[in-house]
Symmetry: C3
Subunit: 373 residues, 3 copies
Amino acid sequence: MKTQNSSFPLNAWYAAAYDVEVARSLMPRTICNQKLVLYRQLNGTVAALEDACWHRLMPLSLGHLDGDEVTCGYHGLVYNAQGRCTHMPSQETINPSACVRSYPVIEKHRFVWIWPGDPAKADPALVPDLHWNDDPAWAGDGKMIRVQCDYRLVVDNLMDLTHETFVHGSSIGQRAVAEAPFVATHGDRTATVTRWMDNIDAPPFWAGQIKHALGYEGPVDRWQIIRFEAPCTVTIDVGVAEAGTGAIPPGGNQGDASLSQRQRGVNGFVLNTITPETDGTCLYFWAFARNYCLGEQALTHKLREGVANIFREDELVLEAQQKAIDERPDYAFYNLGIDAGSMWARRLIDGLVAREQSGKAAASGVIPIRSVA
Amino acid sequence: MKTQNSSFPLNAWYAAAYDVEVARSLMPRTICNQKLVLYRQLNGTVAALEDACWHRLMPLSLGHLDGDEVTCGYHGLVYNAQGRCTHMPSQETINPSACVRSYPVIEKHRFVWIWPGDPAKADPALVPDLHWNDDPAWAGDGKMIRVQCDYRLVVDNLMDLTHETFVHGSSIGQRAVAEAPFVATHGDRTATVTRWMDNIDAPPFWAGQIKHALGYEGPVDRWQIIRFEAPCTVTIDVGVAEAGTGAIPPGGNQGDASLSQRQRGVNGFVLNTITPETDGTCLYFWAFARNYCLGEQALTHKLREGVANIFREDELVLEAQQKAIDERPDYAFYNLGIDAGSMWARRLIDGLVAREQSGKAAASGVIPIRSVA
Amino acid sequence: MKTQNSSFPLNAWYAAAYDVEVARSLMPRTICNQKLVLYRQLNGTVAALEDACWHRLMPLSLGHLDGDEVTCGYHGLVYNAQGRCTHMPSQETINPSACVRSYPVIEKHRFVWIWPGDPAKADPALVPDLHWNDDPAWAGDGKMIRVQCDYRLVVDNLMDLTHETFVHGSSIGQRAVAEAPFVATHGDRTATVTRWMDNIDAPPFWAGQIKHALGYEGPVDRWQIIRFEAPCTVTIDVGVAEAGTGAIPPGGNQGDASLSQRQRGVNGFVLNTITPETDGTCLYFWAFARNYCLGEQALTHKLREGVANIFREDELVLEAQQKAIDERPDYAFYNLGIDAGSMWARRLIDGLVAREQSGKAAASGVIPIRSVA
């Protein structure tokens, strides 16, 4: 399996599955070019093993789960949740080298997170904050889709929402998004793009939401606060409020607008974490959480399917773009103003990868700058 | 995109589409390894642009046509029919380098012709003569098929019609074609193969045509005058006449037999132009035009579908042959007498390619001779 | 076609088809990376020619069979059963080099055997003994399946039947197979693995057979005598008998137990010969022959389909294993005790290949030992 010169760091937590996907059965999944088998143990915690028997490389996911142990479906070698072989056919002694790799796992905010790099560095504090996904003050749900593109193209897509105007014209797109000014800032592991659109007509999606939740029809203030956390998580604080109301805090520090300041509006969080599956494919986990009409299960269902339709539009664009890039590997890309956010995201990713590949400490100060894409 | 060391010259007109294929919408098409988007402008003329946005390579054919301009379906960059960017999202200034390539286009004889090489050399006089395709003295129609083979295999196929006997035995094939003598000649850009079959039984296709048009049943003189024009156009003057009548001119200069000399026969032109799509695939445009029963629309329809069935037989052969060649790249091919016409066609093509790749003037006198295939 | 550095010797008889597959028509088949066309001549014997016309490589299998000659479906060149061209279109003289390769063929034990190497070495005595497949003392039938794996993985599979326990648990598998001791021996071209399971419950398949044939229900002695003959034939003498009866000969030399010593049991032979099709695919010919209820055609039918279901389980395992091996070409395999038989088979194969590739005589004494897989 190719892991060198890849475009992603290995020392990071990656979402491998939605919580409900992992049950009392053997589920294969590929993360960062590594094939894994996931299963839930009797105590409810998730185990993640290399999906290849030590003996003849047979995928363990084609075997059997007995208690917390996996039996290979070819010659019957048995492995425990730590990857150690505990039984071999027709012999008493077990070869001491007989084991498969096991991976650090954390289940948090409805995702199963895997650390494909050095287990000693797997710090639980580094799991990205996606708390809106299981916070009782928010309601929502999401999906996972497999997209045939480099995970960074999805990051690019999310860091510049002007594309909504052209890709999602029937739902959330409107000219205002492509025309409104925005501010891009960044930190050591994060980049943020903030765009406010004051006193505009709401696009179809949001017009429907604010009317449903608050009975309001009329001009709105609309906001998009996109926050990237390296290497591959993007949360987007989105919503609309009655034009001129508290959506914009008095001091004008819009990025810090608190929930209480938006009480005459509707607020959602688009949660995205995009896991490299291979160099050319990714697993795109997303959810949409809202702060209104929390008890309406039908609304949750409707929003999940509606957002899924929007993301299918992105999928077509992303796969077409990847194909075009593959055909012209030497193309020199130009950047526009709208690319500021994705350029910062790319620099942060490149920095993580470069530091990891050069073996330097993660605390190294200088982030190398490379041309985008 | 690979354009070096290809088997086709770039400085040539290639059919990219039938006229009716290009409408008020964005149509992607690949010509000589280059991806294009074609559309018809408001004034009816056809525009051809590189099918990749300058910004992120998104295929423009997935965008929108507004007036004569194309809007990219990802971030909304707008291009005019000359390929110049006229609008960028969220910014006033347009980067002066922002453009995509536009291609010379000519619409003639029912085909849309593209010049993929140096635009300065795109001389309209070089469009191949396929006038039978929209001459009121002729009636007919055709199709385009995509064949999974090097375009030169189609040229080979057309330059030696002995294959009719073995590939098209139920329609136009007969032993006489494989047994009759033929004459092969050539010029600077053309090669011609002429075969006359005197006083024979007509094959099923032609027996039906001459009976339908002239009520004649009986032995015929049959002719095939194949004319290749480099790099990829082949017209075939075909037909049968009452045996012993004016089909063969008195002086015996058969290649010059004029229409008036064939009044006791039926005459058709098989028009073929084969555009390299990629190195291993081609777009095969063909038509069949006749000089009899001009007003019978049902006959036009029937002949188009009948010829399409014949060409499907060729398609199977050509794709099987390409696959076999790919599997044995070092095979040294032997030539038979029947290959004389295709050998000349290959030499003319090789000469065009060699002169173009060596950068010498097209007027260079010596044509290098290479082994066939 | 790649023939160098392959994992199989060329100087060997390989099953190319079941007898009934070859009729009065042109059948393409690939053996050891070589494309062949097979057909039955008027006198009933099978001819095997290279499946590519000398002229333009058109597959001859897409042509026509006339008498004992093949006409190419493109330009009509005709070849006799020895591969010599006997007719060319439009010319009197036939190029003396015009021929395609013909292969030595033997039809024996219901298989059509081809020798893809040096014809001078094609000794009929080297055809593997699969006489059970047409011996009147035995009844049975079989199938051919195309498996997407290196043929040696099928050999591995057959040389270690502990996998029955894990792959075929519902039919022939039982823990006893994985737990019983076995003996592995070998000769110059053969390797044998013998496993006896005394006084056990019969697995579902054999419990049904002994009850049907002999009316017996109760504990059995079960045996598996696996015999490999290089490079790719494996016969397996299998069966069960009343526990404690003559299945095990008095002297205890179990491997030589004759038929008469097993009269209170049921005996079958699983016949397998696995022909490399390409480096990564194989044609797996198998049959199951029994020595009981010889006249029951319905039982023959039922056993063939039942065994086919078992082999489908193997197919899934083998193709998953091949895919995993392809993904990790540098994996260093460990061998267990159960791998003794396949290790010997591999050594014998490696020895044949090495001797053939080094050009040494087949009689060379020392067999080089290489690591498995």
